[in-house]
């Protein structure tokens, strides 16, 4: 239930930012470290090292954070009410996955105003796989009255490495969820700050121009020569940092190397949106990013946070 003590502008069903703050608060109460977004362009919250790398190794870990996610191909010049090339994911990772993870998830929905006596929440099979991260897991897409509002995954493998213990990952599509609880049909109509009248700032006020500009960039202008070069550079740098940090039993530079893997992945997404990658090439690019992710994962296991003594 929504906390009745909240002022109107802080109610998650009135304000996009309040929704986000409510989820942060909820998961902070469950003992998560609440992180800030990773300061790089990523395609999904999973790419954040707080998920990808922390899912590996024996050490327990609980984190929650918002991650702006970029999907260059999903740009629609601000004209589609549901599709964005930049959107927010709210990401929760709990390692090991607790027995009551489903109950916790449902409670988080209640916290943002989904009445479980009124709404039909369902766990519908959805196997998750990220070929670029060499990762897969089993779980569901969570439906609320027929709408997918979250992804729920038990990681089985990340960076080609078996996850033990297993992490439970929750990914909330914040715009969708907000549209649902605010009862809005167009993402740009979302109330961002929860104020009314002249003080009200909508999602469109914040992001509409950006969607237009980035769609132009992603589909028409992005410099493909430069991007191809950037991909090669990132790949090279990743290998270089991995070699530099490799001290046999230990590794001293898994995180900077992984940054380059993230970079390569995003550059690949941009190239893909520009349509300059053929079907056969596509596979080989994905494979190249996966090799980086695997090498970074292996390096991570040789660090202190990765469980190396």
């Amino acid at each position: 239930m929504i906390d009745p003590a909240l002022p109107a502008h802080m109610r998650p069903d009135r304000s996009f930012q309040a929704l986000l703050l409510t989820l942060q608060r909820f998961w902070a109460d469950q003992g998560c470290v609440v992180l800030q977004p990773y300061d790089m362009e990523v395609g999904a919250g999973t790419f954040h090292p707080a998920t990808t790398l922390r899912a590996l190794g024996p050490k327990p870990w609980k984190a929650a954070y918002v991650q702006p996610s970029r999907r260059p191909k999903d740009g629609r010049y601000g004209e589609n009410p549901n599709r964005l090339q930049h959107y927010y994911q709210f990401q929760v990772i709990l390692k090991p996955s607790p027995d009551n993870l489903q109950e916790l998830y449902l409670k988080s929905l209640q916290a943002i105003g989904v009445d479980l006596g009124l709404h039909d929440v369902r766990f519908v099979e959805d196997d998750w796989e990220s070929p670029t991260l060499g990762a897969w897991g089993l779980g569901w897409e969570c439906w609320c009255d027929g709408m997918e509002v979250s992804q729920f995954t038990y990681f089985q493998q990340v960076a080609g490495i078996e996850c033990a213990p297993v992490s439970g990952e929750l990914t909330y599509g914040l715009e969708r969820l907000a549209m649902y609880v605010q009862g809005v049909e167009n993402v740009y109509d979302l109330n961002f700050n929860g104020r009314e009248g002249a003080e009200k700032i909508s999602y469109g006020d914040v992001f509409h121009q950006a969607e237009q500009e980035y769609s132009r960039h992603n589909f028409e202008a992005a410099d493909t020569e430069m991007l191809l070069e950037q991909f090669r550079m990132a790949e090279k740098a990743c290998h270089k940092y991995l070699a530099f940090g490799d001290k046999g039993e230990k590794h001293e530079m898994a995180l900077p190397a992984y940054d380059q893997c993230i970079k390569a992945s995003h550059v690949f997404n941009l190239l893909d949106a520009r349509g300059v990658i053929s079907v056969t090439e596509r596979q080989s690019y994905i494979l190249r990013v996966r090799e980086l992710a695997k090498a970074c994962g292996a390096a991570w296991l040789k660090t202190a946070a990765g469980g190396a003594a």
């Binding site: 027995d99 006596g117 929440v121 089993l138 027929g146 297993v166 079907v279």
Partner: protein, 705 residues
């Protein structure tokens, strides 16, 4: 007799795996029980999204005691033998053994080993954890810090055992920290509290009260009946969908059917697109208006909740999602029509059909050429066939088909119609994929036939040429289906086309490794082995097809064994006539005579190390019976040949029947192995002539029975 109840309570099991899992649980548990001597009266499995359960009825309370007599060494045997016997029988001294006498062997020791039966719960406690650990889920996972694998996290296990009327006992065991009990849980939202259960009836009743219908078939019935009733109440008809029903029955524990609506304007979209949108994305049923036969702007959703507002919020939410989905679909449908099919074609150049078989554009070019070549043979206008082939794949690049691949073909038809293309072309866009399976309709319109054949044959020849043939159960490119499609199109339309040319041999052009296979003239084939192999693949598919329709496969063999039999229609015609002939007295007797002739020939040819082939020397025909046979063969052979040339196989068989009496009379009166070598040779040649005469019809060697 006591009953066993097992319930494995977990997080949501994928709908598509539930039915099979229930069957497997039943089989694994009952097999293990029987193997341990625990016979049962009945068993039934249950499955919901959150539980997999099994009730086994009428089990004994314990295993039967086993008494085994072990024969030992004779009395007075060496010490080593005695010690070995005691050890193997588990005895501490010979006092525990008895002595038996045998009149032949004398006295020897016998140990009676008593193995008391164990209580059934003890056996169950051993069986179930092992089954859980090796359960064959299509995909399973680990969770938390444990090592157990299950389809999704397993939370609790009910295991009770007891006779009717008694308080059943809990069968105690533990799997990776989960301890069995008699406690389960009801519906996730409607009745989440723990429930203590006894046996099957009690478990079912208590769960029903806790808003869980444990029987999958009952959930399906409830959904179907409620859906039909709701539809009827609105004057509409449910569009039934067994696959969807199966799926939604696996998504709910307590089905509640609700009706929603969408705006009338979406009815501009073709029904199939609306249905695909609502089905694939939302798992909802669509409704038909019986007056128009078209879809109504209503849908039925199956929720898992008895909501406090009677489902108003659930309906509103689903309507919103469906509205957004239909907006997308309408946008796709409108965009596709604005852009037109032709504008998409250039993109095929950059789409690989198969690494070794070139791009989609190249494939379409081949289909166009092949369709043009086939057209006159199937009564189609070549220009139309060419057009249809050029457009037949264009819908693959449309937005709607991108979203719903299952609508390929059908959308091509709609778009072709919308663009005012010839109706034959529009029909071919859809029908060239047919038949998709043994139950699917075969195209009958000539243009559709030409494109359907061209499409399938290009696929077959292409994959044959790069050696991607089906093996065993693996047929990733559905080549068996393609071959069967060709066979059915030809036979069911009574088409007269030869498989080898032009079907399997199309235009000569540069096409990588496969150029030679596709060259027009047989003489140019460098890899004829592919073609022969492909023809025999067709023969196999035809055999399977004909056998399924009650034909004798040996007769298919007998006819296929003749050279150049690649006209499927004639082949079946010939086979049918042959089958009819072999059912007559004449046919049976002639076949017997044929076999006798061939047997003798085989033996004598082996003896002499040479073949005896006709013609016979008339001067050496001494006996009247052999003269008559030679005359009959001379008379029958050309008649058979003439009838076959006219494709009148019944007449050919009638002609062949005239050989029966002379053949019979010959074997009656004439000794083949005459002392005079010249006579013997001439008679052997005469036997060969019998064989030669039948060759005009079939290879009689291959006829079985």
């Amino acid at each position: 007799m006591p009953d066993l109840l097992i319930e494995l309570f977990s997080e949501e099991i994928p709908a598509r795996m539930q039915a099979q899992a229930a069957e497997q649980l039943k089989k694994l548990v009952t097999d293990d029980l029987v193997e341990r001597g625990l016979l049962y009266e009945g068993a039934k499995a249950f499955v919901t999204p959150r539980r997999l359960a099994l009730a086994v009825h009428g089990l004994p309370g314990r295993q039967a005691d086993q008494r085994e007599e072990k024969k030992g060494p004779r009395v007075g045997a060496p010490e080593g033998a005695i010690a070995g016997f005691l050890k193997s029988a588990g005895l501490s001294s010979l006092d525990q053994a008895t002595v038996q006498s045998d009149p032949k062997k004398g006295d020897f020791y016998v140990a009676v080993v008593e193995k008391p039966g164990r209580p059934t719960p003890e056996v169950i406690a051993e069986i179930i954890p092992a089954i859980i650990r090796r359960f064959p889920w299509p995909k399973s996972m680990r969770w938390g810090a444990g090592s157990l694998k299950w389809v999704r996290p397993l939370h609790s296990i009910v295991a009770t055992f007891g006779a009717d009327g008694d308080e059943p006992e809990v069968v105690r065991f533990e799997v990776d920290g989960i301890v069995s009990s008699n406690v389960t849980y009801g519906h996730r939202f409607l009745a989440p509290a723990p429930i203590t259960v006894k046996r099957l009836d009690d478990w079912m009743a208590k769960l029903e009260a806790a808003k869980v219908v444990v029987d999958r078939d009952r959930r399906k019935d409830i959904i179907l009946n409620d859906a039909k009733d709701l539809a009827l109440a609105s004057g509409l008809e449910l569009v039934e969908d067994e696959g969807l029903l199966d799926e939604v029955a696996g998504l709910v524990e307590w089905p509640v059917v609700l009706m929603g609506a969408f705006e009338e304007r979406f009815l501009d979209i073709p029904d199939e697109v609306i249905r695909a949108t609502i089905r694939a994305n939302q798992k909802c049923f669509v409704l038909k208006n019986p007056a128009t036969g078209r879809l109504a702007n209503r849908f039925l959703l199956i929720s898992n909740l008895v909501a406090s507002d009677d489902g108003a919020a659930i309906v509103a939410g689903n309507e919103r999602v469906i509205r957004a989905r239909l907006s997308d679909a309408k946008f796709f449908w409108d965009t596709d029509r604005v852009n037109g099919l032709e504008s998409r074609m250039p993109r095929f150049q950059s789409i690989t059909f198969h690494e070794k078989l070139g791009s989609q554009a190249e494939r379409i070019e081949r289909i166009v050429r092949l369709a043009r070549e086939i057209a006159p043979k199937v009564g189609a206008e070549p220009a139309l066939a060419e057009d249809a082939a050029a457009f037949c794949k264009a819908d693959l690049l449309t937005e709607v088909v991108g979203e719903f691949p299952e609508l390929q073909g059908l959308m091509g038809r709609y778009y072709a119609q919308d663009e005012g293309l010839a109706s034959e072309v529009a029909a071919a866009c859809e029908e060239h994929y047919k038949p998709q399976g043994p139950g699917d309709r075969v195209p009958t319109a000539p243009v559709s036939i030409a494109v359907a054949l061209a499409d399938k044959i290009d696929t077959l020849v292409g994959f044959w040429a790069i050696d991607e043939k089906p093996t065993g159960s693996k047929d990733p490119y559905a080549l068996r289906r393609a071959a069967l499609g060709v066979i059915r199109i030809v036979l069911e339309n009574g088409l007269r086309v030869r498989l080898s040319a032009p079907l399997l041999v199309s235009d000569s052009r540069d096409w990588g490794e496969t150029r030679l296979i596709h060259s027009r003239a047989f003489g140019d084939l460098v890899l004829p082995v592919h073609l022969i192999d492909l023809l025999s693949f067709f023969a196999d598919r035809l055999k399977v097809h004909l056998r399924e329709h009650g034909a004798r496969h040996d007769l298919v063999d007998a006819v296929f064994a003749l050279e150049g039999q690649d006209d499927l229609f004639l082949l079946v015609d010939r086979m049918t006539a042959l089958a009819r002939f072999l059912d007559t007295e004449d046919g049976k007797t002639l076949l017997a005579g044929y076999r006798r002739a061939v047997n003798i020939l085989r033996i004598e040819e082996k003896k002499d190390g040479r073949a005896f082939t006709g013609p016979t020397n008339a001067a050496l025909l001494k006996e009247p019976a052999e003269e008559r046979l030679a005359a009959a063969i001379d008379d029958v052979k050309p008649r058979v040949a003439a009838a076959v040339a006219q494709e009148d196989f019944a007449a050919a068989m009638t002609a062949l029947a005239d050989l029966r009496a002379p053949v019979d009379a010959f074997f009656e009166a004439v000794t083949v192995n005459d002392p005079d070598p010249a006579l013997r040779e001439n008679r052997l040649k005469l036997l060969d002539e019998i064989r030669a005469a039948t060759r005009g019809i079939a290879d009689f060697d291959r006829i079985g029975g």
